[in-house]
Symmetry: D2
Subunit: 438 residues, 4 copies
């Protein structure tokens, strides 16, 4: 076996802020205990096979720029194993506790459904053996139901029921593998579950198909005793013009429509939030308020561009407030922080992949520590709580809990001749408070 491109790189270590080493952690001290748990258990970082092993740097106007040995052709299964070897070297270098993959990331498409499944299981077993000699655990697995041309008009939502069946079959095996490898979650991202144009689309029919598909998944989960979470990853568009899992609020409505709101949670991605017109913080706070916060795909988009750039994160303020809402929600539970982020196509060297993760890990850790500090200091929470303090009175609670009907509220207000006065929202002072804490 030849060396992998990551094999000779030393494991990235925590060296503190003063370090001069480009490939060291400055903020991510995995074992540092915060609120009774080490950072590694709060953040549960995962490396994404998809971006870090499978991407080749091509874009709609340009060919591949990233040429890894396992992309050079030859026997596909041998290449898949070389890729897996490199993957586990990368996990070792980054020293992060989890990884994630699509079925197609780890194993090549075969000439038939049977062969594709066989390839997948063979590679899953290979990964299982690699895991024995590695600290890396599986955060989640998912099925790639969007790259192959058969999925061009959707997977579960395809006008052709045979493609629904093909997709269901694929997911069944992905779930089996996830359970076998001890995965903590199973994710569904429906890249083509939407439409290119409403003109040729039966929207209601497609949503019924999607609801059934997810129901089948949940039923199967219970049947096989998979104890992980089922997660849906919202994204509003791209590759489709409209995707049914638009954002957290849309997914929640969809889950309620099919009675799945206690069975399924969301895997939230920063870039997808942006494409839907939201901040990452908003999506996290919304999911938390609805009880469906599942896991995070860490990355960033570019607000001046209209597509999913999946860049490594670099906005400390947004990351801090994202982590603030995660902590407030009680943490990520079985979820984690998966780097759904890819190096730019000009960053085609192995070192770039490592450096990108180092920066991303440190940003998350720094944001988490700042958020935890903010909460501990209490000043910020106090400002917000004070704003809503009026709702703590019995009279206010009576309006909120339904014990006063509309006409009673009106009668009381009219009798008292209320004339409520505005209070300053102090937005700038709150912003100053946060900015000073960075």
């Amino acid at each position: 076996m030849t060396k992998t491109i990551f094999e000779d790189l030393p494991t990235v270590r925590f060296e503190g802020e003063a370090s001069e080493n480009e490939l060291a952690y400055r903020w991510y001290d995995a074992d540092r205990v915060v609120s009774g748990k080490p950072l590694s258990e709060h953040l549960r970082f995962a490396v994404a096979y998809w971006h870090s092993l499978a991407m080749n740097g091509s874009d709609p106007f340009g060919a591949a720029t990233i040429h890894r040995p396992w992309m050079a052709g030859g026997d596909p299964m041998a290449a898949a194993k070389a890729k897996a070897d490199a993957a586990f070297d990368l996990f070792r270098v980054l020293d992060l506790p989890f990884y994630t993959f699509h079925d197609r990331d780890i194993a090549p498409e075969g000439d038939s459904l049977k062969e594709s499944l066989a390839n997948f299981h063979e590679m899953a077993e290979y990964l299982g053996r690699k895991m024995e000699g590695s600290k890396a655990k599986l955060l989640w697995c998912t099925a790639n139901l969007f790259s192959h041309p058969r999925f061009m008009a959707g997977a579960a939502t395809n006008p052709d029921p045979e493609i629904f069946a093909y997709s269901a079959t694929t997911v069944k095996h992905c779930m089996d593998v996830t359970k076998a490898l001890g995965g903590a979650n199973y994710v569904l991202w429906g890249g083509r579950e939407g439409y290119e144009t409403l003109l040729n689309t039966d929207l209601k029919q497609e949503i019924q198909q999607l609801g059934r598909f997810l129901t089948l998944v949940v039923e199967y989960k219970h049947k096989i005793g998979f104890e992980g979470q089922i997660l849906v990853e919202p994204k509003p568009k791209e590759p489709t013009a409209h995707q049914y899992d638009f954002d957290t609020a849309t997914v929640y409505g969809f889950l309620k429509q099919f009675g799945l709101e206690n069975e399924v949670r969301v895997n939230l991605e920063a870039n997808h939030a942006l494409l839907a017109g939201h901040t990452f913080e908003h999506e996290i706070a919304t999911a938390a308020s609805l009880g469906i916060l599942g896991s995070l795909d860490i990355n960033r988009g570019d607000p001046l561009l209209g597509w999913d750039t999946d860049q490594f994160p670099n906005d400390l303020q947004s990351m801090t407030m994202s982590m603030y809402h995660v902590i407030k929600a009680g943490g990520l539970g079985k979820g984690g922080c998966n780097f759904d982020a890819k190096v730019r196509r000009q960053s085609f060297e192995g070192e770039d992949v490592v450096a990108a993760h180092v920066g991303g890990v440190d940003l998350c850790a720094r944001g988490f520590l700042l958020a935890a500090g903010l909460i501990e200091a209490g000043k910020y929470d106090q400002v917000v709580a004070k704003r809503y303090a009026g709702w703590q009175t019995p009279e206010a609670q009576a309006m909120l809990n339904g014990s006063m009907p509309l006409e009673a509220i009106a009668a009381k207000a009219e009798a008292e001749g209320i004339d409520p006065k505005p209070r300053s929202g102090r937005q700038e002072q709150i912003e100053n408070l946060l900015m000073r804490s960075l």
Copy 2:
């Protein structure tokens, strides 16, 4: 009583496509029967008091350009009556069957809650008397819970419970008036029910407040025996940075969260759809698929601008497909087509208001007739139906109705070794088909 600015204008008549008269309908023949009903009953057009009587042409960088006699100061109640007189003249000129208003459009704020309510009821009675001599009926009434500074941090979602009470009181009276005037619907648009910044916001608390508020409204509706529909109007943002009633899918989830999905429907606006990243057609089709299509706010936005321009519509293709989805949904029921559209601030003359409505009415009628023709011709529906024909087989239905679990679908697919092939979506040919029909 002096003459109103619309008093001398002749009533706009249907004159057909060949007319040379700027202020005539060319496509809107109110009495023309389509599928067993006159156009007027399909479309149920309404004139909006808000835009056509109350707007003064100011914008964030400029002062009022529209100076109507009732805006000139003096006794506010006398002005409100002069405005109402002009309104009914405008309704007579346009010869449309409905109108809509906010409480604040028809009656001035008083010095106290009591006086504000008294003003409102006095003007409601005045309108009631005007309606006796007019063909105009009330499509819907709504409460303006966003213009006054007391609402600057929200109405139902305000951190101050006294403002919740104030808002509830206002809505109670608006509902009473709606019932008294025979209104077909009651609408809630929560312009400030959202946040300026998540930093000072307790999102979960605010959504609980909003859910309670809407529940109170629904309970009161039943108590007073109001038989109209309760409608929520989605809008993603502006004036807030995020509004909780983001879009149809979000409102649906919210209704399900509070068990209101059979009680409340949506009033959809084209410009709001655009701001949420959707087409108007999408919002209509989505609401129809969820069974919550209520009514339409007719206007358009500018995709190159990021705010609610509320322009009169002028896109025939979009209007045709919007009407197509309305017809497919079984029509608008108690809802209608309300012109939530304002003349540009440079169009400050009374004639501009009339001409704008004439254009908008004609565009809707033309789109409706084209859509009805499209459906009657059947060619387009056939193309779409053919695309999903595979789902009509018993095998496909078994997957869709839940009688086959995931593992059974997989077993069958594997046994058969299925290899589904893509079929052309024929998007360009469908677009050609529609373009030719315009």
Copy 3:
């Protein structure tokens, strides 16, 4: 030689609006004379090799869906010839007067610069021979300086001067070929002439490089006696985060900076206009006002999506006003209407390519005829002219032509105590006027 996929398709003919034939022109009657010239000479339609022969339907989340015989591998030059054969069959089927190509569309990259150039010249000669038996002429040629990894950081603006040299060499040969094939224009689109991030970019240096590159091109044009136009195609972003040729106004400033404003014009694309925050009409009118309108890339984007979808056009109103501004500018001269548009990836059959062009051609023709009719009727122009009529007085002209300095204008205004009154802009009535004409 085996049959090409277009070989058996009949030539598309003009059959008028009543035709039931999916693949017939309904509005494009090539020989119909308007204002003294046949439609074919006004519109100068071109088929784009890039989209219609070279695209394979892949997108950032999916593999190729379009599999043409010449994409199946084997000898690259034989494939290039098969592709050329199919191309000329397609030109024959569509019966349009022009085509366009990138060097890389027609000939494969070789193993060295020398071989790449040899391939290109061999294929250019092959095309030359094909043209002898065809009506298709060359509207323009351009160089693909963005797909190969060597261009990942730009071509003319690359930090590496060797890539500047490589690009210059390529363009030199493309210009030679354009001249040899009788091309009417030579186009430069700088897909990577911008930056991914300003953080690693010397913007001033890169713009100097770009200015020099364009100057070299212009000098060479004169040296070889090429009589076509040199065109730059503006696009604001994608694939880069910022492209230097952002829009027409930016290109104009750039041309002035390097003294090239009389040597170079713009090739305007509808989708690029949208990405830059403009309408196509705006870009055409702006270029016309600056004297740099060169040619058009016909397509459309989706205002709800943030990338270059390059769809076939379907908006009649926008097309009509685009053609209006073209006619007002005196027509397209040596330019034309190039279909820089691709079928959707689900439209993978040859028939889809033909149908898409038929729809696009008809839309352009219909828009052109409507615009010409609008101008002939005169009503619309009259409305606009009347708005500016005040500027025709000698006093107004004195302000405009510089004969009155600021203080003289002020002195006169103060002496007269002017108090100018607003006039209605009549926007809605103008919109009605246009809508009725569609």
Copy 4:
């Protein structure tokens, strides 16, 4: 004279990062010398009369929330003086060296042109006297040619030449006042110099008018010996649908078109950059590269909203890189950092205005210090310089300086058989480098 709302507030002092005082500077130590100059001279902060004294918190959906004593009605000139008194108290409190105003901010519109001008001159003299007892100097003055209805169709670009004359007269007097008060710059922002719809617009005529107007201004500047800079402030849209001064690149082209590129510079605003699809850094770097960087309007927009929110800045990374490009450009010269930022409408108290400026000033100072430190450390500049190092060779310079024509470059490249190889752009490592420095 009654007390102003700012009168009792203590002057904000530099207290360092450890301060617990909400209204203290933590980073802005005005006298701290960096590169030979105190911070106050590098940054030249200005308070904007427009936002901090004249704004009342109204928005398109809501009435005024900010009620200052001088907005309460009564004699307009007395109110203007009370406002001026408050303004100078605010300047004293903030202890910043400059202020800026529109004519209409400081003096009320009169009943005639004559009275308006008289009001303006009287107030200018009043300000002149206030300045004698204050440290505040005038950074720039500008004319409000967009708020009054007469400007609804533009000022210089109005279809009515009388409005051109009215505007010219106003600007003449504003320039006189600027000179008299020792202003360092004169600014033109053409809020309505654009169009609402291209349909009723003669774009070419309007741009001619705008070019003439600016030429008149420049000629008058020289005539009266005003030694400040003439600045144009780009903005792409809002209130218009398209503004002619779209962005820096567009303004540059416009200046070249009228031969004004050595006479006029740009006043760049962060929020306007965003609306044009750019970063603030991009606009600064572009203006610097073209030699037209004039001054800065400090604020921020919200990338999720499509209008000019003019919020106080809070993004440390963007501010640092903006200041980096300012320093690289040689500083702001006669320009400065004007807070074109307003408190949110919920922040209606005087204290909010002070706190907002404190946060903004500190962010700018912190960003400036970080940028200066980055430059001094040299590591970042080195990375960028290394990327372009190849261009320093004589061979590369020959291509760049025009001494090698296209055919010579090609001949050399072909002879050498060049095969340039891509190099990693190292984007993630550069981002890490910067992130660590914050």
